[in-house]
């Protein structure tokens, strides 16, 4: 229902650690009208310029707390709030090149009252910010 707001404009940045560019990150929202416990966030898939990040390279930060994607199923005491802009980070030595990138995000959510997995998808062209 909020798919078009999943990828947040103007948030694509490289991640720098010391002198190294170690990956990139962007702001993402849930496509859902309520917040959700992190154990029910089954997947946050990030594809940039056609290349899908391996799950092992992805982490998610909600209100200052960072989790590896693989650890989310076991997180029962934190949640992603409705409309909250979380940061999804992808390990990628060297990061992304300057200029515009085609970014796609697909989130899969386990919603208990629905018989099938919920979630959504968004796709936008974002320019890399400094």
């Amino acid at each position: 229902m909020f798919d078009k707001y999943m990828i947040v404009e103007d948030t694509l940045r490289n991640v720098v650690e010391g002198d190294d560019v170690t990956g990139f990150q962007l702001g993402v929202r849930l496509p859902y009208y309520r917040g959700l416990g992190l154990s029910m966030v089954e997947d946050v898939q990030v594809t940039v310029d056609g290349e899908t990040a391996p799950a092992s390279a992805v982490s998610l930060t909600v209100h200052g707390n960072t989790y590896k994607l693989a650890d989310l199923p076991g997180i029962f005491d934190d949640r992603w709030e409705m409309g909250e802009i979380a940061t999804v980070a992808v390990d990628k030595p060297g990061g992304l090149g300057r200029g515009e990138h085609s970014v796609a995000v697909r989130e899969r959510l386990r919603i208990s009252y629905m018989p099938v997995p919920g979630g959504g998808a968004d796709q936008k062209v974002l320019a890399l910010r400094d």
Partner: protein, 346 residues
């Protein structure tokens, strides 16, 4: 004055303002203030949507909330709970875990000053039973939301009715969602399908089949054999999620109905809901002696946000002007008197 006396009150669920809240264009206080402005003095809130830090927002949250209720002259009528039965990967919650989850949400409702709690449709009847006396002790009613495509002869709801009739607890009942009374296919949905690439003859077939009470479940095979694309298959599936029932079905269950979610998809410029006939619904509620709230639930945003600026505030205002008309409040105003106690702000 009113030709038929009634005690029906007006309210709004903050579900209605989801687009603006999601995008931080409205704060929670803005929602309360807006509701008060239109005389929708009964507030329904979804803690998991509006309460940062749910289920433990901290003492300050509750104090602030109570302060707003006083400041704006509003009342917390209902809170809506979810039941995350699939919270733990690979297994479904036990009955004990589910009961604990519901009780925690009852506690939250109590602290917010609510009287009614929406039990989401997947709440098992066994959990309702296990929570009834707890709710009763808190002075709360735990009400199963009957949302389309559910209805009172649905096998799941029949199981809930069995528990309610057997227990005779004052704490259990229903919260009907008026989306169970969709008389004609919502235009915002069919228009969106057309914009998304559905072909007109297939959209028309779905709309016509729905509107003529045809076999909507037969649309999936029909569309498949007609070479439907995914958007078209979506509109066929959607037609099985919508339901029309005669609103008079509520009369039989009126002793169990304590709160109404007044779902709507589109208030037209003419001041009526395009698909849900409130002019047929409200007389039934009056006839049945319903004395709770009509709680606005605007759900049109998701269907129009691709091309329109969503204006939930205006949509809810329009619905309340319609409610005033159908409840006879405008007559009261015309006669220079307040038709409903305390509704001085309109």
């Amino acid at each position: 004055m009113l030709s038929t006396a009634h005690q029906i009150k007006r309210g709004v669920s903050f579900y209605s303002y989801q687009e603006e809240c999601f995008l931080k264009k409205m704060s929670l206080e803005d929602c309360v203030s807006e509701a008060a402005t239109i005389g929708a003095l009964g507030i329904e809130i979804i803690p998991e949507q509006s309460m940062t830090g749910y289920p433990d927002p901290g003492e300050a949250f509750y104090r602030t909330w109570g302060g707003w209720m006083e400041k704006y002259g509003t009342t917390t009528v209902a809170t809506d709970l979810f039941l995350d039965t699939k919270r733990y990967p690979g297994r479904v919650m036990t009955l004990d875990e589910m009961t604990e989850s519901v009780r925690r949400d009852l506690d939250i409702a109590k602290r917010m000053g609510a009287k009614h709690v929406r039990a989401i449709i997947n709440t098992p009847p066994e959990v309702m039973e296990a929570c009834a006396s707890y709710a009763e002790k808190l002075g709360l009613k735990l009400l199963l939301e009957v949302h389309a495509p559910f209805h009172y002869e649905h096998p799941w709801v029949i199981r809930h009715l069995e528990v309610m009739h057997r227990l005779q607890s004052p704490a259990l009942g229903f919260m009907p969602d008026m989306g169970t009374f969709v008389e004609r296919f919502p235009r915002v949905m069919s228009d969106r399908a057309l914009r998304d690439g559905a072909r007109p003859h297939l959209v028309e077939l779905a709309v016509e089949t729905y509107n003529s009470r045809g076999d909507v479940h037969g649309l999936m095979d029909t569309f498949n054999y007609m070479g439907a694309n995914p958007v078209e298959q979506g509109i066929a599936r959607l037609s099985t999620f919508l339901t029309w029932n005669d609103p008079r079905v509520m009369l039989e269950h009126m002793p169990l109905i304590h709160h109404i979610q007044a779902k709507f998809y589109e208030m037209t410029d003419e001041g009526t809901e395009y698909s849900i006939p409130y002019d047929k619904i409200i007389p039934v509620l009056i006839e049945g002696g319903y004395n709770g709230y009509l709680s606005s639930e605007y759900e049109g945003n998701r269907h129009i946000q691709d091309i329109f600026e969503v204006d939930s505030v205006e949509q809810v205002r329009r619905q309340h002007r319609m409610f005033e008309r159908l409840l006879g409040e405008d007559e009261g105003v015309a006669a220079g008197a307040s038709a409903q106690g305390g509704h001085s702000v309109r």
